[in-house]
């Protein structure tokens, strides 16, 4: 174990949703290279409390890269420099003594700032509530092995289902679009046999709710690069395809009624 010294932090501080914010500078004189990035912020917060100042607010929980709560822009990159890694899994051994690190909250109009580095990502929940589920009320399910699912299909569904809902894709997108998040959910459910009955209704509802809150996708691909679970942008193509089909299918139904 060795130590890094003189880490200079520039952190966005903002007292509340409707208030102006500014960068403030702090110095971490020494930190173990085994410490995680968030443990470095813990050390800063202890330091601030010792000085009688208010601790920096940031979201975090599992610190294992699975809950999707942590959400920092580190030197302009969502979740920082390490590919496929959420902020909480980033370790100080990836930095050097004397480094200057800029830390900001997710920047996206759909994610208003609550305080300092904490943002409100409730718009993601609204997308799921509009259709990101399979209707299967408790009690009526058939035996789990009744419908075999080919392993490659289950695997592809799982690849998409690995999304942790952190919002890095939105934060990284120049348009603040949520296509990767939404499409990952669409793909997870639409690839499975259980997801077929609601396939088109689901994609339509989710895409339209997404459009209410988020910007439009213009295929920059920044989302895929920022995703801590490395979810492939291919899911977006799948979603677009299904959405077009849904619109077509719905028009047909409409013309009949």
């Amino acid at each position: 174990m060795s130590h890094l010294s003189d880490i200079k932090l520039k952190i966005w501080r903002q007292a509340g949703p409707d208030q102006g914010g500014r960068f403030e500078s702090y110095l971490i004189p020494s930190i173990s290279d085994e410490a995680s990035f968030l443990e470095m912020l813990d050390v800063l917060n202890e330091q601030l409390i010792n000085e009688g100042r208010e601790a920096v607010v940031f979201d975090h929980d599992c610190r294992e890269g699975i809950c999707g709560t942590c959400s920092l822009m580190i030197d302009g990159q969502a979740h920082g420099p390490q590919r496929g890694t959420a902020t909480c899994q980033l370790h100080m051994r990836k930095f050097q003594s004397g480094a200057e690190i800029v830390i900001e909250p997710w920047r996206a109009s759909a994610f208003p700032i609550i305080k300092d580095l904490m943002v409100d990502r409730a718009a993601f929940d609204r997308i799921v509530e509009s259709g990101g589920f399979i209707t299967a009320e408790t009690g009526g399910a058939p035996d789990a092995n009744l419908i075999p699912i080919p392993k490659p299909v289950a695997d592809a569904s799982m690849d998409a289902a690995a999304c942790i809902g952190c919002g890095a894709c939105v934060a990284a997108c120049p348009n603040g679009a949520a296509n990767l998040f939404t499409a990952a959910k669409v793909a997870h459910l639409s690839l499975l046999p259980q997801g077929q009955p609601e396939r088109y209704k689901r994609v339509e509802a989710m895409v339209e709710t997404m459009d209410e809150y988020f910007g439009s996708c213009t295929n920059h691909g920044e989302c895929e690069a920022a995703c801590p679970k490395e979810i492939s942008i291919d899911v977006i193509a799948l979603m677009h395809q299904d959405y077009r089909k849904a619109k077509f299918a719905n028009r047909k139904t409409l013309s009949r009624s």
Partner: protein, 650 residues
Amino acid sequence: MSTTTIAGLPGSEKLQSKAPNVAVPEMWETFKSDMKLVNPNNKRKFKIIVVGTGLAGASAAATLAELGYQVDAFTFHDSPRRAHSIAAQGGINAAKNYKGDGDSIHRLFYDTIKGGDFRARESNVHRLAEVSVDIIDQMVAQGVPFAREYGGLLDNRSFGGAQVSRTFYARGQTGQQLLIGAYQQMARQIGLGNVRLWNRTELVDTVTVDGRCAGIVTRDLMTGDIVSHAAHAVVLCTGGYGNVFFLSTNAMACNVTAAWRAHRRGAYFANPCYTQIHPTCIPQADDTQSKLTLMSESLRNDGRVWVPKAVGDERAPADIPEDERDYYLERLYPSFGNLAPRDISSRAAKRAVDSGRGVGPLKNGVYLDFSAAIGRLGKDVVEERYGNLFEMYERIAGEDPYSTPMRIYPASHYTMGGLWVDYELMTSIPGLYAAGEANFSDHGANRLGASALMQGLSDGYFVLPYTIGNYLAPLLNKPVPGVDHPEFKAAEAAARQRYQGYLDVKGTRSPDFFHRELGKIIWDYCGMERTEQGLEKALSELPALYEEFQKDLRVTGDGASTNQTLEKAGRVDDFFQLGMLMCRDALERKESCGGHFRAEYQDDEGEAKRDDENFAHVAAWEWTGDPMQSIRNVEPLDFTTVHLATRSYK
């Protein structure tokens, strides 16, 4: 059956399990045929509060709403999808017997009772085993992408301490996939307007009026507003208290506050000293460490645990020849080997490290070695099974487990103790229920791997939705107290005073400082190995440290906007009181059982010695106003179906 009481023991008449008076395997069917029902059209007249939206809470909220009840769901997380349940890696058990390897409801029931070292209620555990099969059906219908075989059927594996393959899994992310499934089901109900979601809202008190739970008081974590919510029934699904140790595998926000505040209002707290230390976590690396990361126990299926035979061996693992390695689990427990249950494996690791044979820079770990598995199965198969866990390890420890053995050490992981509940999952306060890790009911003194997810979903999907109707049916069209009732007002005032109080201390130390100090005491004296002397010492140190907390706490910022330091202060306060109760419970339980190992009670080979004559009971503690003076009530445990036996894994 299990409704015996012991005359002369204070309070035990309150501790009736209320399980039907028939043979254990028939209890649940009997209960379901006899219970009172609420007519579908009347369900919307009842409001149910569900606090916590982990597996237990999300499944309960979704199902209750589907049935037609009005549900208000609360979580302090920003979204229900973040609950600690999401971090479970290994899998979920169910007695499906898809492998035809001899599993059955009886065997899962038996394994759970035995695994819990005969300290759980037979009635509840049998029901758990019965409904386990429905959970898998429900989750597959919900779109959970469980692992499959090439033929398309579900894959299973054997998991920590089980001799059959009954564990279903979704890569190393089973908890995530199950939680997302339950979350989506609840999200549908939110979209339909049947569940009202209160996120970033923390329960700070429960309210009882005329002996019934009337609702809760919450604090809005963004504005500090204290608000009352009235309901016909309240369900706490607020998780476990493993973070009392400060360092644990639990998510940072896990805490005991909801259960504890209910305890302070009269809900008995059962078996607080039953905590589980998980054998396979990444050892602490330095003193900024904020939490410990679990390496799924499934790794023990293919990894071999060892330490050097010689004390102080400084060689790199690859340079230590086979005959100078001690594969101590294989040596001590030949029939279970590396799959020996958690408590046994944890203590064995502690002994190896305490004997001076620990490995790694701080000599605080043991090896978990995959070289034999890679040789036997090939790297591809090992990667397919554990790829994401290996990646996670490398990210944290900076070493590649394909080429050098992992280092692991036990850490606090799960808490079997919790709010006392009866067969219907009702606490000792009528109308207040507890489900999931927050209750004490199913795992006795030790939980088997992959059984917590099963219990959370069993409680939420298949137990509460039935049992709660039994309570509500007679309340139809009877008025319930509203939020303007003086009891709500008094609780609100007390909550405001509590949080203002933390701000007003203006001492010199942060809540985290106290939490670390508290955790050290609990870990040293009420951790993997406990002694009378150690517990007495803890009980003399804790009140002093608690007093210091009350006098020297420093919370910066204010109470009217997000203030994580203030939130933490309230949680640490409750951990202190719980810590004292844990030590008292551990002191009073003069036997070793499961996760509770009292050094005074062991056989010549260092194995736990249970005392069934004096301790085959649940200890349920009653609040008196001072955690050092809580009253110990007992619920005797009857074993009519499984015979009490020494738990041997040799």
